[in-house]
Amino acid sequence: MSGEAPATRGAADAAGTARGMALECRAVGFSYEEAQAPIPALRDVSFALAGGRSLALLGASGSGKSTLLQIVRGLDAPEAGAVLLDGVGAAQAAGAGAGAAGGAGGTGEAGYAALQKQVGLVFQTPELQLFASSAREDVAFGPSRLGWPDDEVAAAVEEALELVGLPPERFGDRHPYALSGGEQRRLALAGVLAMRPRLLLLDEPFVSLDPATRRELARILSRLRADGVTLVLATHDVDLAWSLCDELLMLDAGRVAAAGPWDLGAAGRELLAASRLREPFLVELWRRLGRDPREAPRTYAEAAEALA
């Protein structure tokens, strides 16, 4: 629909380009304007995540998780610091030439904007965004904004519906509001996945889902992870975070409390408690069994194997 450079698609598809996008935040700061005084939401947030890795974004409600995700997607501009996508920052892309833009497939601000379009963001309760009169049409909204040819859009839609467990032949023509809550959540996820994001940000995706849908969603995410998509998962569910994420970033009142690989020794446990979280079940189990909690398995299957 819009005049999107074909380079956008090229970068996502081209063989040789890594599927997962690398993400780095350098001293990112942001505050919300309120009537009386600005309220700081993020202060000096720095971390790096290699392409294809998955990150659990933990922290109490109001610690800045949602704000950080929206800044990474470019819905808000950071007041301080920079967000680097595949090593490219906004200012850098605007100033430097082809060399700096590297794999972005473009230079200048357009190059950075093209990278931002390869970042998918799934909002908390994303079923709010459903508006079209059929599931297929709703999922097609995103990819058609990217200016892809019609057959490519159609293929992406079928693929995304299939991936989230809503087979297009059964669900494609259904009205989004005629679906159950869990199906709506998965349909909204398909709407983002159809844009073939190289970095997928999810804001509390498990909230108010029944256990079966939760497991289904976790299965979809681990499949994306296996496909090499970089994942950032903001959640309060430490068990799912533990099973899905390689690393963690913990925010406390807008500041980084911990970043990097999981550390679930005594200090790590205290950090989790400070954010009103408990340690993952399997970690606790390992500790109670008298084993090293740092070597706790990620999945029940691994645990069963280790205990057998």
Partner: protein, 261 residues
């Protein structure tokens, strides 16, 4: 979020603490009196009263400016019309149907100033009174109408609920717009038709959500035994005190002075 709806400026000035009913009566009486009198002297009395209320309210001038700004074109238009279409017999400049006279100029200035004083007095009320308190006050003042079977309490409740949900819905509109922007929607470019069409992905979810909320709220109210048509007591009954009596007495004095001077 910037909204023009939530005009209230939180504060604890003497004006803020007044009973909303007293404020509403005072402002209505002043507004009526303002239009009964057509002399600069009378206007000056009301203007002074308005400025005193403004100073006492402690609301920053910028907030008043926000209330004035959208009305400036109306004031300007009034001034121009009155200036150009004044009486023709003593005009010192005339062209075609336009006549500019001393009387015309004076009348134009008078009308414009009257409008400004009116906005000033009205703004003091809306800037220092929470919309909900104002609704409560109006419901109380409308009580005699219940004898005529006007469901004043139910109307007040409807207004209260509507006001309560405006900020909530604004937050949700913001979230929906962000979600669609993350999917590539573009709300800022193109002609009017394209812009209107770009809003479909926002308005559809918003309507669905509003209906769902209304339905849930109705159920919740029923579950808490809400019944229309019966007299309900209040958690915070409105209480008028000495200050409110003083306000009404002062208002009466200002009106008498303004009408007689």
């Amino acid at each position: 979020m910037r909204t023009t709806v939530a005009q209230y400026y939180p504060g604890d000035s003497p004006i803020h603490r007044l009973d909303p009913r007293a404020k509403f009566v005072a402002v209505t009486a002043l507004a009526v009196a303002l239009f009964l009198r057509d002399s600069f002297a009378g206007l000056a009395v009301f203007a002074v009263a308005g400025v005193v209320a403004y100073v006492l309210s402690g609301v920053p001038a910028a907030w008043f400016w926000r209330a004035f700004r959208p009305l400036l074109w109306l004031v300007g238009l009034t001034f121009l019309a009155q200036m150009l279409f004044g009486p023709s017999d003593q005009a010192f400049a005339s062209w075609w149907v336009f006549h500019i006279s001393r009387e015309g100029l004076a009348f134009a200035a008078f009308l414009s100033l009257r409008l400004l004083v009116l906005v000033l007095i009205g703004s003091v009320l809306t800037l220092t009174t929470q919309p909900l308190a104002l609704t409560d006050g109006l419901a109380w003042l409308g009580r005699p109408l219940r004898k005529l079977r006007v469901p004043t309490d139910e109307l007040a409740l409807m207004v209260t609920i509507a006001l309560r949900f405006i900020p909530t819905l604004l937050v949700e509109v913001d979230q929906i717009m962000r979600a669609q922007r993350a999917r590539g929607a573009d709300f800022g470019s193109g002609g009017p038709v394209r812009r209107a069409r770009a809003l479909v992905p926002v308005l559809t979810p918003l309507f669905v959500l509003s209906f769902r909320r209304a339905d849930e709220l109705a159920l919740a109210m029923e579950a808490r035994c809400y019944q229309p048509g019966i007299v309900r007591t209040r958690l915070h009954p409105l209480k008028a005190g000495t200050a409110d009596a003083v306000l009404l007495a002062l208002t009466a004095a200002v009106i008498v002075l303004g009408l007689l001077i």
